[in-house]
Subunit: 357 residues, 3 copies
Amino acid sequence: MSVNHLIDLSDWPRQNWEKIIRLALEIEQNPSRFYGRMEGRILATLFYEPSTRTQNSFKSAMMRLGGQCVGFSNPQNSSVSKGETLADTIRIMNGYADIIAIRHPKEGAAKAAAAYSRCPVINAGDGGHLHPTQTLTDLVTLTKEVGRLDNLTVGICGDLKYGRTVHSLIKALTQFPNNRFILISTKELVIPAYMKAILDAAGCSYREVTSLTEVIGELDVLYMTRIQRERFPSEQDYQEQKNVYILDTEKMSLARPAMKVLHPLPRVDEITPEVDDDPRAVYFKQAQYGVYTRMALILTLLEKPCAGSALFQGSAHSGEACANPNCITHTEPYLKKSFIETSNMLMCEYCEHKKLI
Amino acid sequence: MSVNHLIDLSDWPRQNWEKIIRLALEIEQNPSRFYGRMEGRILATLFYEPSTRTQNSFKSAMMRLGGQCVGFSNPQNSSVSKGETLADTIRIMNGYADIIAIRHPKEGAAKAAAAYSRCPVINAGDGGHLHPTQTLTDLVTLTKEVGRLDNLTVGICGDLKYGRTVHSLIKALTQFPNNRFILISTKELVIPAYMKAILDAAGCSYREVTSLTEVIGELDVLYMTRIQRERFPSEQDYQEQKNVYILDTEKMSLARPAMKVLHPLPRVDEITPEVDDDPRAVYFKQAQYGVYTRMALILTLLEKPCAGSALFQGSAHSGEACANPNCITHTEPYLKKSFIETSNMLMCEYCEHKKLI
Amino acid sequence: MSVNHLIDLSDWPRQNWEKIIRLALEIEQNPSRFYGRMEGRILATLFYEPSTRTQNSFKSAMMRLGGQCVGFSNPQNSSVSKGETLADTIRIMNGYADIIAIRHPKEGAAKAAAAYSRCPVINAGDGGHLHPTQTLTDLVTLTKEVGRLDNLTVGICGDLKYGRTVHSLIKALTQFPNNRFILISTKELVIPAYMKAILDAAGCSYREVTSLTEVIGELDVLYMTRIQRERFPSEQDYQEQKNVYILDTEKMSLARPAMKVLHPLPRVDEITPEVDDDPRAVYFKQAQYGVYTRMALILTLLEKPCAGSALFQGSAHSGEACANPNCITHTEPYLKKSFIETSNMLMCEYCEHKKLI
């Protein structure tokens, strides 16, 4: 039986996502019934960059199942500072734990880890690339709070250019029928061309707008994200435009009674505190569903193996290096380069960066 | 059933303290009998400033009950560094844990946390303000080692001006009949006027002295604390006076056979190592009782709710801000200001700072 | 019943080592059978210098037995930064935990800790001095992978001058009959004279060579260690010689089919990644055996006390101070100095530094 990992949701058929969502909601109904299922098992949380929230969510999930946790939260405290490779750290941790959740600043790092692991690896965020447990959490939240994953009008507001969670969520929702997207951002922060290509290929309708107020009344779901101040072209632009993208009670008064507001958190000031008391604000529940989602995922990877695809489908191209400077293959040079060749492009199988050939 | 917190011992009637003390001593008799009572439950230790000793004491307490722990020990590693508010962190942690222990450098932070928490919050120290589990530990230690909480002559030696634990202990002991205090410090570090007002109001006798040697023979209890070198008016004063406040075997030879020495720890050099071997030195036992006390507190808050008072009794005074620059309301501006009005004063309900109106 | 510690393997008779090795291999056969044996017990991992790998190995071992862990991984986060002595930290931790594993940058620190502990103390590395759980792990690995601890030709390659694990392993293997050593290093990094004295006293044959290639064909075991670049006399020497001490597939092709390669890890570049796939490379298994070894050790110290010798055999020599500037007695001045006197030498009982008298 081959080892199962969760590196990229796209590696799994939609039925597998749905199994995890169903299990997460079953857990949500009665979490204590699942206590003890991971008794005697150990999760290693290897956080090469700190993220208290995500790390505690994984730890809480494992502990709610009766398991325990080892790991680290900080590269300075780890053997990494002595020059140990990622591959070695993973092989050593295989001796200490039964399942690994890894967060790493380099893109493709979770896949690189999986390539050396004898136990399941969960991608808890690899640079700006993927964060599949956040996307699964979003899907669980929508299923529970909105009641469906199809036939939705989904507004996504904020930084659509750099937002990792936004791209993953859109990709996931294109897999369900009849979802429409309203993409709300400044002109500088519109979604990238490759995301539009995905939307087009899936036959999804979408509109790009610059005003939240104008469209909020049409939405079943509003997915809010943060726009960092430095992403505006100038301080003057920031001061003029910031309120357009802040969700407040006034804008909420224009929304449908059944609309739900999600946010991957942490929130800074893009949602005013008054909105928290609105029953349509489900972002704190979302954080709670994140624990149930991770419980379902751990159970699935360790107890109910669903055949994953092979980690690598491509082939080595001698002499080729990935053109993404933030790809894990540059800092871990022993990794076997692997590219998928498509007509005139090579796609790195670690970070999915494409280059023309 | 409303959520119970422990923010300030004064919020609870004395009978509740006594229940916890009795339970702590019951646990002390046979700790392993309580193992498993918190099985499947999670304590979050949110330490916005590091304190290994207190954090490990809480974790040990939860683990001795069969529970597990998440949290952080360092603000740099937390989402705080991304600008998350305390309120958001608490609401997210509510999804991960069943009970929270918080230490924070700002005064009033634990109360602010409780105001947003759906689960019990324990104040593990909020700036220079309160540290109620230390005080409960002191009361458990006195009950066990001295045999009573009343009719005591209590010497308190060291920094009486800034010592948070000293003020809390004095306040607590004024609630029991016939306690007398001998307050031993330099002239610069005498207890503040408001503490004298509390002693007077409770009808407690007290004396202020500058020599430990002169009074040690009268004491049932000697509570030692550290005087930081920089609290002396000059280096010359420090060199001249420091030995007056150091407890050594010579001074111990003047004390009663039944006197007990307590210290909140960590100790630096205010008690010489030779005193450690004296059976009257109970400060290491005190650290042990701290675990039993926290076990009793966790059990009480989660299993045996004793009705706490409402968190806030006061009312908003529009336009008022707390005058204490270290109050949590300044760094977390969304908090609803709340003041208790008494004749010509307003008292902030977070940090208890009073200002004239 | 006196408390058992593991400070130095030499404190124990060889039969005790063999009991632990047998138990570790019994655990290796069926680790889950031992789950629950430490239920309700707590291990404190006190790491005064960070070592993620060793700390996680100890934690994993305790958790595999059903126990839990407290502690710290970083002196900055600990009460140490407030000036607390090692003795006080240990006595406080005695209230929080049932067994302690300590790593400390100062030599003799683990023994100093044991002198103040009411529960077993395990030395997890004290400066450049000792690291007995690594040595036990090496012995378990040899027993399992090579099948015996005697009649071995053991090559030890790398930094033989400063390598703590190397010295401990050689000392341990001299206790078993007919072991021969081939010591492979640069001339600057040959083993110290006192290690040669130990080899001579035990009647062990050994050779010092500068080429790994020349001798690899003779070995039953090759123990690799890292040579730090700065240990070469010059950058030119480093560039000329470094490849001599790097194990690669070419050198492996000269080795016996039954030879095994060990390494205490972390590995930097002294073994090329290609060697990892060679079945004779057992260094990652070694990390796994480290967990079983520590499980066996914890069980032995807490469940099956094997009488240890008294911590100190020597006597105070008034006015004497240890001449080793890195000895724990300098930073913890309250420690009772203790020296063993042998003809014309005094040996410090903390760090084992010898000085002429």
